[in-house]
């Protein structure tokens, strides 16, 4: 469950845009269930502010007000693209800063975000929340350093698009693949391209998070060349259990990492202890107990 809005972005405190822009703040544009202004008019107002030229970051929150519908999903993407000349310094975008109270993550209707990357060639950071209808198309971008995709269920088609993406400067790659009831339909092979260092040669952070086959990923990481270049492996929010943990322990390459994030897991206490003894900083917080129906990822709805 997403229970907080972003409070800082690009190292600046986040505030809701209310009509003026100050350079020491990051702005979120969003509407309420009963807003008198439209999302489009707010973006327009933001872009026409004299300080918009200097703006480096923008957060797009709830754009639908009451209930997210597919027919409105292009809306924030189009708005960003239309205003590209008014935001010449924009480098950080968070599309979908929407909490559970506003909408279930798996009910957010998203869109083809490819035009954003074309419109903003200097973009360094792109984070998007919500996997329904989400598409990256043929993604090529020379400047992008961070790509974060948070969903309650991400389709294998969309992940395949990312597997084909050309992002030579990408340092941080993080996807939350979620639950099969909400759109996740891949298998361990879906992740294979990301386990090779050729995919994103400058990668430092690999996050395959909120995944309901974390054990299989952990096994597949054996001999994975990506482990020779990254410093952080993030398998948090998923379904890691003792089987996957044993595979990580047996994997010598894991010891080259600086940080291994396994927060929210289904490992036994014994295994948790063993993993913690690795010569790597490890987060083993939020141990879960398997329920009657099996293991659940942390964020699905």
């Amino acid at each position: 469950m997403i229970s907080e809005n972003a409070s800082s972005f690009n190292n600046k405190p986040v505030v809701d845009f209310e009509g003026t822009i100050s350079p020491d703040k990051a702005y979120r544009i969003r509407i309420d269930y009963d807003s008198e202004v439209t999302f489009g008019s707010l973006i327009k107002q933001f872009c026409e502010d004299p300080n918009a030229q200097q703006v480096e970051e923008i957060i797009l929150g709830n754009w639908f007000g009451d209930v997210s519908e597919p027919e409105e999903s292009n809306f924030p993407v189009d708005a960003l693209v239309e205003n590209k000349d008014k935001l010449p310094n924009l480098k950080y975008i968070f599309l979908g800063d929407i909490t559970y109270e506003e909408c279930e993550i798996s009910w957010i209707e998203n869109a083809d975000v490819n035009p954003i990357f074309k419109a903003y060639p200097h973009l360094k950071y792109f984070k998007v929340r919500g996997g329904n209808g989400l598409s990256f198309g043929e993604l090529k971008h020379d400047a992008l350093e961070t790509l974060i995709v948070e969903t309650g269920g991400l389709g294998a088609d969309t992940i395949d698009e990312l597997a084909k993406a050309e992002l030579p400067n990408l340092k941080h790659f993080e996807i939350w693949t979620g639950d099969e009831n909400y759109g996740w339909n891949g298998n361990v092979n879906t992740f294979k391209p990301f386990l090779s260092q050729e995919k994103f040669p400058k990668l430092e952070y690999l996050g395959l998070c909120d995944c309901d086959i974390t054990d299989q990923i952990a096994v597949a990481l054996k001999d994975a060349s990506v482990l020779d270049i990254i410093s952080t492996l993030d398998l948090s929010r998923g379904t890691l259990g003792d089987e996957g943990a044993a595979a990580l322990l047996a994997n010598k390459k894991i010891e080259n990492l600086k940080f291994l994030n396994l927060r929210f897991h289904y490992m036994s206490s014994q295994m948790t202890e063993k993993i913690s003894a690795l010569p790597v900083e490890v987060n083993v917080g939020d141990q879960q107990e398997e329920e009657e129906y099996g293991r659940y990822v942390e964020v699905s709805e």
Partner: protein, 376 residues
């Protein structure tokens, strides 16, 4: 000044008030226990003829609960257990049942107190009988708030059963609601329900559906559960609907570091005094559900003075709406942008905020101080 309390003596509420009275060097608090009152209502005639009477919560005492149930008249309107059976009900922790009957019994008890007080005009009530009855009828309270133009999530309708809920949602063009017991307290039986246009449903609640020996029962639990299965959701709503429930608009709450929050604000003599932030990772913020108090000072930092003043003004206006009601626990909601505060509900016994001080006084001490100066 003599202060009299009707309450459960073993409860910490009674202890806090007793300590507050002692601290002000007043005559010791006179406590009439619900237990003795229910056994022998004539005990009320022994009340002093001058001073203040505080009627506090009868909660957290199963014997008292049984006896209040037994006071209620037999009505076909609600799920009813006859008096003799009520007195023999086995303790079933957390079970949600007979909330209408409990309310009917509680009103009778309040009425008995009222009759005796007619002969004792010098003994004044901190909160009037009418206001206590009103606050335990969330539907009637809602109507009063609405009638007085106090911002509150809109009342949609009483809900007879699951399909009826859907008719109401359609009629009101609404897709996310809170469903509440009209006579519940402490988050008992609160359901956060939503559906989308694809027909997916989500019910988030501390209510647990338990199937024991072929019959489905509802329990308040300390864990937030999420139901997505149509049959389970339908069963929960249909069982709960036997106890008079209603739907109100679910307005998204604001969040800050630590999760969503709302505010519990106590008003004493019409003035907002004590406040806590109730913070949660789920839509249900009641503090006994393992939720924590949030950082109010960091909220204030993120708000403009004007936004804060709006909250205070709303609390004041609400408190003044209820006559002869000196002590109210208001639940206040802030939408994500922190503007447009709303009253979620007003609570008759909402002053239990341990360790929260206002001008060095906790809610109990501040209440006593207020009564002392009102007397002058």
């Amino acid at each position: 000044m003599q202060l009299v309390l009707i309450g459960n003596p073993e409860n910490r509420r009674s202890q806090y008030l007793k300590e507050a009275v002692n601290q002000k060097l007043l005559p010791p608090l006179l406590i009439i226990s619900y237990q003795s009152l229910l056994e022998n209502p004539n005990i009320l005639h022994s009340l002093p003829s001058h001073g203040w009477l505080k009627i506090d919560s009868p909660g957290e005492n199963f014997k008292v609960y049984q006896k209040i149930l037994a006071l209620a008249p037999d009505e076909s309107k609600y799920n009813y257990v006859p008096a003799d059976e009520a007195l023999l009900l086995p303790y079933d922790e957390g079970r949600i049942y007979y909330s209408q009957q409990w309310y009917a019994g509680f009103k009778i008890l309040l009425h008995k107190i009222e009759l005796v007080l007619k002969d004792k005009p010098g003994l004044k009530l901190v909160n009037s009988i009418d206001s206590i009855s009103l606050f335990f009828d969330k539907i009637a309270s809602k109507h009063i708030l609405t009638k007085n133009s106090i911002a509150t999530p809109a009342f949609l309708n009483e809900i007879q059963h699951y399909d009826h809920l859907h008719q109401i949602l359609e009629q009101k063009n609404s897709h996310q609601v809170f469903i509440k017991l009209a006579h519940g307290s402490s988050g008992s039986g609160v359901l956060a329900y939503r559906k989308n246009k694809k027909g997916q449903e989500m019910l988030t609640t501390s209510v647990e559906l338990v199937n024991k020996g072929g019959s489905a029962k509802l329990y308040n639990s300390l864990k937030i559960r999420r139901y997505t299965d149509y049959n389970e959701i339908r069963t929960i709503i249909n069982i709960l609907a036997k106890e008079r429930i209603y739907a109100e608009q679910w307005i998204p709450k604001a969040s800050q570091s630590g999760g969503f929050f709302d505010l519990r604000c106590v008003t004493i003599g019409g003035e907002p005094t004590h406040m806590v932030m109730r913070q949660s990772r789920s839509p249900i913020t009641n503090l006994h559900l393992g939720n924590a108090r949030g950082d109010l000072s960091s909220l204030k930092k993120n708000m403009s003075d004007e936004q804060w003043k709006k909250i205070m003004a709303l609390a004041r206006k609400t408190a003044h709406t209820f006559n002869n009601t000196r002590l109210i626990g208001l639940d206040i909601l802030l939408p994500p942008k922190l503007d447009k505060p709303m009253i979620i509900e007003a609570n008759a016994f909402g002053d239990l905020l341990p360790r929260i001080l206002h001008g060095n006084e906790n809610t109990y001490e501040a209440t006593v101080s207020y009564l002392l100066q009102e007397k002058k």
